[in-house]
């Protein structure tokens, strides 16, 4: 089923694309990109409504398991003592903060290239979630740094690039809302998200490219992770829990954004009838 791209107005009312959307639709079908099957907001609401309770329940379960394991049943590190427990939230929040930005950049690209009707909403709703996870990463890292490095903050490459990630998220939120025309705001936000994606490899490789207090990657060396299984397992459980939490929050917020658009369309239709 080759459904043409749905413009924002039709997205809001949940109806099929009207005839004037033909140029966009023609381009999408010419490229044989069938993403639009999943771009229908009504279908997204139905599917996400079925998935959301399961994802949220799995996130809550794994979060409980990971917290108990990390806080009570995992051993203290022989060098870092009990402060190593901060890692169980610091590292997963850092991973999710970066994964969230990747999601935002990919969604922005598909919004710009294919006019994917839900892509703009996904990109916009990624920003506050990413900002929160990045804030968690920064605060926990700071509270971990004080007892271990003797300082809350250093202006080295890793910490500064993650702070930049935080400001990219905040800047995206501000930029999207800075235009009278929402379409221009969405477009500007998408361009910012793509330009800011340059920061992701900088964060990843900052510990290798510049000298820093921050320790290098210890988990992603899959052949031989430089981390004991007693500490690695609760970390992986927490990472999965945070990822599911991110997915649940994103689905919830995109659903809310679709409802908000639909409400605006209904109110506009009512105002048009009155006039």
């Amino acid at each position: 089923m080759d459904r043409p791209a749905t413009p924002p107005a039709a997205l809001a009312s949940g109806q099929a694309a009207p005839a004037h959307a033909a140029p966009e639709g023609a381009r999408a079908t010419a490229g044989r990109v069938n993403l639009h099957r999943f771009a229908n907001p009504g279908r997204f609401l139905r599917l996400s409504g079925q998935l959301l309770p399961w994802i949220a329940a799995a996130a809550a379960l794994l979060l409980g398991l990971g917290l108990a394991w990390g806080l009570a049943f995992s051993p203290a590190d022989y060098q870092q003592g009990e402060t190593v427990r901060i890692m169980y939230i610091h590292v997963p929040s850092a991973w999710v903060a970066m994964a969230c930005y990747s999601t935002m950049a990919i969604a922005s690209a598909s919004a710009l290239v294919w006019r994917h009707p839900l892509a703009d909403l996904v990109a916009i709703e990624c920003a506050p979630i990413g900002a929160c996870f990045t804030a968690v990463c920064l605060v926990t890292g700071s509270l971990w740094g004080r007892p271990m490095w003797g300082t809350y903050w250093v202006w080295d490459a890793r910490l500064t690039s993650v702070l930049l990630l935080f400001f990219l998220y905040l800047g995206h939120i501000a930029l999207v809302n800075a235009f009278d025309d929402p379409a221009r705001g969405r477009r500007a936000g998408a361009i910012l998200a793509l330009v800011g994606a340059v920061n992701l490899p900088i964060i990843k490789f900052s510990v290798d490219w510049w000298s820093t207090l921050h320790q290098p990657a210890s988990v992603s060396r899959l052949a031989a992770p430089a981390i004991h299984p007693d500490i690695l397992w609760p970390l992986l459980v927490m990472a999965l829990a945070f990822t599911l939490l991110f997915a649940a929050l994103l689905l919830l917020r995109v659903r809310a954004a679709i409802y908000a658009q639909r409400a605006r369309a209904l109110m506009a239709a009512r105002a048009a009838v009155r006039a």
Binding site: G81, V136, T140, L143, P147, R253, Y259
Partner: protein, 75 residues
Amino acid sequence: MTGLSSWIAMGGHAPFVWGSYGVSALILGALAIVSWRGHRAARALVARLEAEGARRRPAPGANAAASTAAPERAA
């Protein structure tokens, strides 16, 4: 109780460990609550607008209560 109190002490780093978990719970908990309430409010608004729209344009053969609702409000 020494087991519990030594666990709470976190090897003398209690403010840093519990502070990290507390701030994280606060930030992510607030995000979850705000998102959940926003979703609930937006969905309720759509349901209300759709119900009002249905009342305003009663289908032929709709019951009396529904068809008199709009004139009463107008009066």
